[in-house]
């Protein structure tokens, strides 16, 4: 096999095998609970990818996760572990809902671009603050981004339940609803809103940019070794800040889209952990923006399938969390097999008693 093909085979094959293995394990676990595993697998597939309804369900759930995963993936490429995307998301949603209150907006595409833009800006500034704290004050970005997410949620609640509250929202404090002309509809009559397109386009765009632009190359150099990057004259701090701002902008955009496409106003229903789910997606995708797409769809599929499992088999919600847990542990564990020398392993299996081949060729290939 050509090395590139072999690489692609390993990249795709390992996680797919891991998912199948986790389904097998999950089937065994639930069979102890008296559930027929065959029926379970069938339902899982039907619920996530079985028909058009299931696909819509899966894609709808995946849409916000792609953008929040980018909030982890982009800073990660510049060497930062940012886990506070939830903060950027809620502030993005808040900014989106607040802009029409501050100034009159034209309806349609222009107004929509403005509310989404201001959402992205709010998220971008928030995560850029994390980057700045780390670059100029030496504060650990993982901790600060997580803590700032709590601050952001506090700010969000203060504004939604205080100055921006729609007085008619009695028992569910919300901002006034966006005008009809500022809302995002479904794609071609489906339930899946345009947020999915934003997510996919952003993932592809950032993948190309990271791979084949000067900015992308510089960012990856900074992420690889900041000292070396500075030595060759790269403006490391600025690149880090930009990566943070772009990541935050993605999460902020996700929040704005949730408001414009789903909730129509900013309220506490926005805080459901999309930002934290994005961390999982990004790490499973190894911070590769293209890989974020299938991983987000997989996670969305788990959600959709879990819904059907609950309704048909009466399984608790926790069961699908169990499947998710097994799947992600196995996917991460399968990484260890990435550089395995399969030919040597086969040889050992086929000739267990024979003389062992010299260990040198094995030694220089395994890591």
């Amino acid at each position: 096999m050509a090395p590139a093909m072999r690489q692609a085979f390993v990249d795709v094959g390992l996680p797919v095998l891991a998912v199948f293995a986790s389904l097998l394990l999950f089937g065994i676990v639930v069979s102890f609970g008296g559930v027929n595993p065959l029926e379970l697998w069938l339902l899982l597939f039907r619920g996530a990818f079985g028909d058009w309804f299931s696909w819509q369900n899966t894609l709808q759930r995946a849409a916000p996760l792609m953008l929040t995963a980018l909030c982890v993936a982009l800073p990660a490429r510049a060497g930062l572990v940012v886990i506070g995307g939830e903060g950027a998301l809620v502030l993005g949603g808040l900014a989106c809902a607040a802009l029409p209150l501050a100034l009159p907006l034209p309806g349609g595409v222009v107004g929509l671009a403005l509310v989404c833009g201001v959402g992205a800006m709010a998220g971008g500034l928030w995560i850029a603050l994390v980057g700045a704290l780390r670059e100029y004050r030496g504060i650990n970005e993982t901790i600060s981004s997580l803590l700032l997410a709590y601050v952001a949620i506090g700010l969000f609640k203060h504004w939604v339940e205080g100055p921006l509250r729609d007085p008619t929202s009695l028992n569910k404090p919300s901002t006034p609803a966006l005008a009809e002309s500022l809302r995002i509809g479904g794609i071609a009559g489906s339930d899946v809103h345009w947020g999915l397109v934003f997510g996919v386009v952003a993932c592809l765009l950032f993948s190309v940019a990271l791979r084949s632009t000067v900015w992308g190359f510089s960012t990856r150099v900074v992420g690889g070794n900041t000292k070396a990057a500075q030595l060759v004259g790269l403006a490391a701090s600025r690149l880090v800040l930009l990566a943070c701002a772009l990541g935050g902008a993605c999460a902020g955009l996700a929040g704005a889209i949730e408001v414009a496409a789903v909730h129509t106003s900013a309220n506490a229903s926005l805080i459901v952990g999309y930002g934290y789910a994005g961390i999982l997606v990004s790490f499973i995708a190894r911070h590769n923006p293209v890989a974020v797409i299938p991983v987000a769809i997989l996670l969305g599929g788990f959600g959709a399938a879990g819904s059907l499992l609950q309704r048909r088999l009466g399984l608790p919600d926790a069961s699908v969390l169990l499947l998710q847990g097994i799947a992600f542990v196995l996917i991460l564990a399968s990484e260890a097999l990435r550089d395995a020398d399969w030919r040597a392993i086969w040889r050992r299996i086929l000739q267990p008693s024979g003389p062992r081949p010299s260990s040198t060729p094995l030694g220089d290939r395994t890591v």
Partner: protein, 375 residues
């Protein structure tokens, strides 16, 4: 039950036409007699939370026993596009013709987005937001005047407290919650007018750590009887019991969690509302759009008294419950000098008394005199 008292006649005509449509729609299940009547119940949290969701799950579990009825359930469904998917799934994949989306936040925009597209399906939302003329006819809401039971909690607490300080751990300062806090204090003050109630807002419906902190800090301040309005009262009940304090429950019975500290509790009795709505759907009569009720209508109930509750307390609470059941007891009354909020403003004028059905009570934005805390 208590249909909305306004605009009743105006809606009669449209109700009749909907009724006709409903009957036509219901012909199908009768033709296919073997097909069960399927309805869905959607919970925002876990079904076994000893609280809000469990109260609904208990009603659903009872209804499962009815012949010819199939129940599909889903728990931990957030108030996002996910609940829209769950509802459409129940309709399209499970054939449900009636849905009970139980969380307050499911209504707007989620139920309102789906109802027009699924005109043959009935949606019954728990919370009380349906408005005549504004919302579709295949949508309805039901809710209970649980402040009646919180008042009774207060009466029992008033008898049992030694420090004359009682405490309330609350989620958010919204009208429903404020009404419960005020009813609890008014119940206690009906026994001993010197009692104060400290209220702490945790900020959200499920904040276990903050709920424990609030309970501990109130206990440190000398509060000896607690109650709460959060989704899962488990943490407050267990923490209060651990601190050797007494507690009145909420949503469902938490007596099992703290048998030695649990005085009584304000419980939902959703079976009444569920049955009314399901019977209407099966018979093809108009969808009950606005259902409300208190103790009298069987929408709420009190937990059985704990063994430590004194005879005097029981008798006093039972007397008031009797008056409430007979429909001649009002909680929010101006009395001689008017009812004051805790900033000194008169909120209900002297001599005025508000019936439980009064819309003014649904906009409550104050804490009454004697409550320590701010909205």
């Amino acid at each position: 039950m208590n249909h909305h008292h306004t605009k009743r006649r105006a809606s009669l005509k449209s109700l009749v036409s909907i009724g006709a449509a409903g009957t036509l729609g219901m012909l199908n299940p009768r033709v296919h007699a073997q097909k069960p009547f399927t309805f869905g119940v959607i919970y925002v949290g876990p079904r076994d939370d000893f609280g809000y969701n469990q109260a609904h799950a208990q009603a659903a579990a009872e209804l499962k026993k009815l012949p010819g009825v199939k129940v599909v359930e889903e728990e931990n469904v957030p108030e996002t596009a996910a609940v829209q998917k769950t509802m459409t799934g129940m309709i399209a994949q499970d054939g449900a013709s009636l849905l009970f989306p139980t969380s307050f936040g499911y209504f707007d925009p989620h139920i309102l987005a789906l109802a027009p597209r699924n005109a043959a399906v009935r949606f019954s939302h728990c919370g009380g937001l349906w408005t005549e003329g504004k919302h579709p006819k295949n949508v309805g809401s039901f809710f209970g005047y649980i402040d009646e039971c919180q008042y009774l909690n207060g009466v029992v607490a008033g008898h049992m407290t030694k420090s004359n300080k009682i405490g309330f751990v609350a989620a958010k300062p919204i009208p429903q919650v404020l009404r419960n806090i005020n009813a609890f204090l008014l119940g206690a003050r009906s026994v001993k007018p010197a009692i104060t109630c400290s209220a702490i807002f945790t900020g959200d419906w499920s904040m276990p750590v903050k709920e424990a902190e609030a309970t501990n800090s109130l206990a440190d301040q000398g509060v000896d009887v607690f109650t709460m309005h959060v989704d899962g009262p488990k943490v407050v009940v267990e923490t209060a019991a651990k601190r050797g304090r007494m507690v009145c429950g909420y949503h469902a019975s938490q007596a099992k969690l703290a048998p030695n500290a649990y005085l009584t509790g304000a419980e939902w009795n959703w079976l009444t509302a569920y049955k009314t709505i399901i019977d209407a759907a099966r018979a093809g009569t108009p969808h009950p759009n606005f259902l409300r009720g208190g103790l009298k209508e069987g929408y709420v109930k009190s937990s059985a008294y704990g063994s430590m509750v004194t005879d005097g307390a029981r008798k006093n609470a039972d007397d008031i419950r009797g008056k409430m059941m007979a429909g001649n007891f009002d909680i929010f009354v101006g009395g001689v000098g008017g009812l004051k909020d805790n900033k000194g403003n008169i909120v209900i004028a002297a001599g005025r008394s508000l019936k439980q059905t009064d819309i003014e009570l649904e906009k409550m934005n104050y804490l009454v005199e004697g409550v320590i805390g701010s909205v």
